[in-house]
Each structure stands twice: as C-alpha cells, then as structure tokens.
C-alpha cells in the first residue's frame, strides 16, 4: 500500500503546478489576449447558424461585389451577391471543424503509438519505420492521393492533414514516455507488480498530458492552414459549402474587381492561426519548469 502513495507524490506537486501554470498564463498579456480572441472565434463559429446576418447560400444578383460598409452587408458581397461576413463566419466554423478533426485523428493514432514506442523497446523500431514512412508523404501529396482514390471532401482533407501530423505526435510522446519511464515512481509501480497497461494509463499518460496539450496547440493552427490550402486547391471542402479556402479561390478570379473578397478570408485564417500559435507559445512557456525562456 505504501507504494501506492508514491505516484501521488508526483500527482500533488503537479496540482500546485497546475495553479502555477494558470497564474503564469494570466500574467502573460499575450496569453490573455490570444485566449480572448480564440474564445470569441469559437463562440462565433459555434453560434454562426443563429448570429450570421444572412444565409450562406442566399444569392442577390442585383447586389454583387458590394464593397465593405454596404448597408446590410458589413463586409460586402461576393461574385454571386452572397454576404461575405456570413460566409466568413461559416468558413471559420469549417476551419475549426477540420482542425479539430485532424488533430483528434493525429492524437488518437499518435499518442498510443508514441507511448508504445517509448515504453516497449520491441515496438520502438517498428514504430520508427512507420513514422519514417508517414514522413515520406507530405500532407498535400497525401491529400492528392486520397482525393484521387476517395474524392475530395472535408472529411478526406481532415484525414490527410491528421495522418501527416501523426509523426510529430509520436515523436513528442515517445520522448516524454522515455523520460517518465526512467523516473522513480514508475519503477516503484513496476516493482509493486503493476501491469504495463496500468503503468501506461495511470502513471505515464496523465503525466504526459501537458506535452500532448502543447502538441495539440502546435498542430491546430497547422491544420487550419492545411484546410485552407486544400480547399483553395479544390481538394477539401467543396463549393457551395463555405470555407475560407474556397472563398479565396473564387475571389482570386475577381481579385482586381473585389480585392476585399480576396483579402478578408485570408486575414481571418491568419488571425486564427496566429492566435493559436501565440497561445501555444505562452502555454509552452508556462508549462516549462525551467521558467522563463
């Protein structure tokens, strides 16, 4: 029974550590600002069906290419007279949706493989070759292959981006597992007769959460950018469904006539990715036991 208190020795300082991390985040103005922007973006995306001023498919041919500031169309209209603000809201919703789907795919496959590679020496080489193999297919080439076999869609774009992010997840989780495995509390659990599955799920995985969290904040903006690229090329979300990438693809053809339509969706993608990246950096700094650096 005494052994069982040993893991708690690692758990309780991590509880105080959690409050310390929150305090550091609150004191970092960049973290606070980026968090607020992200919260707003997520709210807008979730509530888009209720708060968008127009339907995304409502065309108004008497009112095409209205500039921003037109009454009723705050950010103007596109080539079919559709409201740019409403389409941006739904586009951001799609971006976040694909981003989350992709990162979840990467985590669901990458975390167990990373744990296995770090914990069991026998699996390390096999998983290492698997990682090499995945790395050899850049996300766009994967997306090309998937689109050729299964057709272009939101789901296939998310899968292609997610698969491309698996190696990064495996690498990070593997090295954290190696580190945790060498610590005393894991050795104590093993001596106590705990099974490998128990050690991995009760000792290693909970202590790797901060690393997983940081990896997710790195992967999300990359996935959002990936979705935009694929939809722009026609390999992701298909028109008329709104996506920031497809909006830019259409706007490219009319860029000289309606520069705002080619500018605003890109700006939104950049703000989304930038705030995720800033928040991710702040989170990593706050979680870093070495303090400021």
């Amino acid at each position: 029974m005494t052994i069982l208190t040993v893991p708690e020795a690692e758990t309780s300082p991590s509880l105080t550590r959690r409050t310390r991390v929150f305090r550091r985040l609150r004191r970092n103005p960049l973290a606070v600002i980026s968090f607020v922007i992200l919260a707003i973006a997520v709210l807008v995306a979730l509530l888009a069906p209720w708060i968008a001023p127009h339907s995304v498919e409502d065309t108004d041919f008497g009112n095409i290419f209205s500039p921003p500031g037109t009454p009723g169309h705050f950010l103007g209209t596109d080539d079919l007279g559709r409201d740019v603000l409403s389409r941006i809201m739904f586009g951001a919703r799609a971006s976040l949706e694909v981003g989350l789907l992709a990162v979840l795919t990467a985590l669901v496959i990458g975390v167990p493989l990373g744990l296995a590679a770090g914990y069991f020496r026998a699996f390390d080489a096999v998983i290492g070759r698997f990682t090499d193999l995945l790395l050899a297919f850049p996300f766009l080439i994967l997306a090309v292959g998937l689109a050729a076999i299964r057709g272009a869609s939101l789901g296939n774009a998310a899968v292609a981006i997610g698969i491309a992010q698996i190696p990064g997840v495996i690498r990070v989780i593997r090295s954290d597992t190696l580190r945790l495995k060498s610590l005393d509390f894991v050795a104590a659990a093993v001596v106590d007769g705990a099974s490998d599955l128990w050690v991995l799920s009760r000792h290693i995985l909970p202590n790797a959460t901060s690393v997983i969290l940081v990896q997710a904040t790195v992967a999300l903006p990359a996935a959002i950018l990936g979705e935009a690229v694929l939809s722009f090329l026609g390999l992701g979300i298909q028109p008329p469904d709104p996506s920031l990438g497809t909006m830019l693809a259409t706007a490219q053809q009319f860029a000289a006539r309606a520069p705002w339509a080619a500018t605003l969706p890109g700006l939104v993608i950049m703000i989304l990715a930038l705030t995720f990246n800033v928040f991710g950096d702040a989170l990593r700094d706050a979680l870093d036991p070495k303090g400021d650096r």
């Binding site: 290492g128 050899a136 297919f137 935009a228 690229v229 722009f232 090329l233 860029a255 890109g266 993608i269």
Partner: protein
C-alpha cells in the same frame, strides 16, 4: 560512424520499399477496375485488354509489383491518360521549375531566417527581438497562398513590377526567368524562414551561454568574432537539419505556389492530374515525392554526421 551510416542506409532503403508498396497498392485501392481508371477516355475492350497486358493486371499482385518496380527503376512511369505524353517527359520539363523555385526559396529562407534569428538572440530582451519574434509568428501563421494572392494583387497587378504569372526557362532568358520566379520564391520562403529563425534563435541562445563562447569572450575576441566564428557556425548545423525535416512542407508549399503563380512545375502537374483523374501521373508524382524525401533526408543525415561527430557517437550507442 560506419555502423551509424549503415543503419541509416538500411532504414532509408526499407522506407523506400514500403513507400513504393503503399503507392502500388494505392492505385489498386481505386473503386472498380484499375484498367478502366488507367484507360481514361478510350474504354474499348481492345484498349482495356492492352492495358491489362501492359500492367500485367491479370497476374498475381507480387508479380505486378515486381514489374512495377522494374519499370519505375528504368524511369518508365507510363503515359498520361489524357495527353498520351510519357510521364517521364512531363517530369523532365516540370521538375527543373520546381527545383529552381525550391532552391531559391531555401536560399531566401536561410538568409532571412538566420539573420533574424541571430538578431533576436543577440538583442535579447530589446525591441529588435520582439519584432523578429513577432515576424516569425506571423510567418508561421500566414496562409502562403493568400500572401501570394496579395502579392499578385498589390505588387504585380497594381505596380507591374513583377509578372503575375507565367514562366521563362532559365537557359532561354536568365533575367526573365529570375523576374518570373523571384516573387513566388520569396512567398514560398517566408514560412521556412520563420521556422529557421525560431530554431536559429534558440540554438544561438544555447551557444551564447556555452562555456566555449565565454572562453572566446574572455580571451578578448570582439563580439562580432564571437558571434560569427563560434556561436553562429554551431547554429548553422540547425539549418541543415531543418531543411531536411521541412522538405515535406516545402514540397506542399511549392505545389500551391506554382498553382497561384501559374508556374508550369511539378505542383501544377500534380493538381491538374488530380482533377483529370490522370492516375499514372498521380502515381508517379506520389512515388517520386516519397523517394525524394527519403533520399534527401538520408543525405542530410550523412552531411550532419560529417559535421557533428556527436551525432554518430550517439547513433552508434543507440
């Protein structure tokens, strides 16, 4: 050393074989008859029979795979089902464009990234560091195809300084060639520059606090000499690795950049092939990308182990 390189060579070869199996099975994962997919427009029984014979589709998978590898090794990737042009000929005209674009992008990214990274590390805590850090974050977060759109909109169309699209081969007109390719290369290089900047900064901060730099300062070397000769040289190793690791991102980026600027390279060929369901071309593109990634990363490891003896020692121990 030898053992480390042998292990790496063996791993690369294994990955190459696995990758070619994946690509080979990919085309067979197509719904329906692969002969139909490969035939394109001409779906007469004679044409289908000819394709089955050419690709050996009636033979066992292992035989087909051997046949496929044999042809790929000879540079025979079949012909486009839309134009009938051999894929190898298409590659011969498309690849130089992409290689030039990527090479220039790497040069630009290295110059910008290392420069900004050194400034950020040396001017730690000053406004210059903040600016460099912020620019790097923007570089990581900006969708590059959008940056390309803006560049065309506000630089090419508005000022006429750069052509908005098109391409001239280097050997026909070197100046015109650079004129066409410099803007796309700059756009493609920004993302890589951001990554190189962040790694250079962190590597420089490590070296600047290392003992050998303190020794160099103590023996009276000027700050410029300390930074240039000691700290920076060590940090440059980082750049070599990043270029290897980011090669996948660079290839993806090149595809998009070519699409926007209308450069007739590998990327444009790829995207066109997807929309025309030109399977022989897609298969060749995927296989070549994977091969290039594996071979270049092996070369990077080779160079890396030559520059930094610590790597091969650690590699031998593992």
């Amino acid at each position: 050393m030898a053992r480390y390189l042998l292990t790496r060579a063996w791993h690369s070869a294994l990955t190459l074989v696995l990758a070619s199996v994946v690509v080979f099975l990919g085309i067979r994962a197509l719904p329906g008859d692969p002969a139909l997919a490969l035939a394109g427009e001409d779906r007469s029984p004679e044409a289908l029979a000819a394709i089955r014979a050419e690709y050996g589709l009636d033979r066992p998978l292992t035989v087909q795979f051997g046949h496929y590898v044999e042809r790929a090794l000879q540079g025979d990737f079949g012909s486009s089902i839309r134009t009938g042009i051999p894929v190898s000929d298409m590659l011969r005209t498309a690849l130089p464009v992409t290689i030039e674009l990527s090479f220039l992008a790497i040069l630009i990214a290295t110059a910008l990234g290392v420069g900004a990274g050194v400034v950020a590390a040396v001017r730690r805590g000053r406004p210059a560091e903040w600016v460099a850090n912020f620019l790097a974050l923007v570089g990581l977060s900006v969708p590059h195809f959008w940056l390309g759109l803006l560049a065309i909109l506000y630089l090419s169309v508005a000022t006429g300084l750069f052509p908005a699209s098109g391409f001239v081969p280097f050997f026909e007109d070197p100046v015109g060639n650079l004129h066409h390719i410099i803007l796309p290369a700059l756009i493609l290089g920004t993302g890589l520059a951001a990554i190189i900047m962040r790694q250079t900064r962190s590597a420089m901060l490590d070296s600047l606090s290392a003992d050998y730099v303190r020794t160099a300062k103590a023996k009276g070397l000027s700050p410029r000499a300390v930074i240039g000769r000691h700290a920076l040289r060590n940090s440059l190793i980082v750049v070599v690795t990043i270029v290897g690791l980011q090669l996948g991102g660079l290839i993806s980026g090149a595809v998009v950049t070519e699409q926007i600027f209308g450069l007739p390279g590998f990327g444009k060929m790829t995207i066109d092939a997807v929309f025309q369901r030109d399977y022989p071309v897609i298969q060749a593109v995927v296989l070549l990308t994977a091969t290039a990634y594996i071979v270049i990363n092996f070369l990077v490891d080779l160079v890396y182990s030559l520059i930094d003896p610590r790597i091969r020692v650690a590699g031998d121990a593992a």
